[in-house]
Symmetry: C2
Subunit: 81 residues, 2 copies
Amino acid sequence: MKVRIHVSLKPGVLDPQGRAVHHALEGLGFTGVEDVRVGRLIELDVADGTSEDDIAQMCEKLLANTVIENYRIETTEAPKE
Amino acid sequence: MKVRIHVSLKPGVLDPQGRAVHHALEGLGFTGVEDVRVGRLIELDVADGTSEDDIAQMCEKLLANTVIENYRIETTEAPKE
């Protein structure tokens, strides 16, 4: 079973990486970019029986720093071979 | 206009970060994890008139290393304030 986890900084948390990307885009001549936020996209391939709670535990314990980050779990059914 | 860009390594490209996360998950006692791939999730806030082609140019020139990475553009309409 394929699971995709979107980890992004909580609103209000300073994002230096996003700011650097923003400046670089402007330096390349791209106008009209108002804000850039950079997060992580973690794709897990887990056994079919894995519960959403197990995955939430993985996020809480390791994949996201819940003090400054939010995470969103998206399960995508694996195509049956 | 909010745009979300999913950047992930091309299949077959070694993902040391994903491998490290995989080992850490196993070390925490999570069984059933077969594979982990870590990518980037870039959230852009751009002016409403920005075309998909402009965004693709941003990806090609800066946001993704197209030699080893794939990118997928997802436009999410900004809620009218």
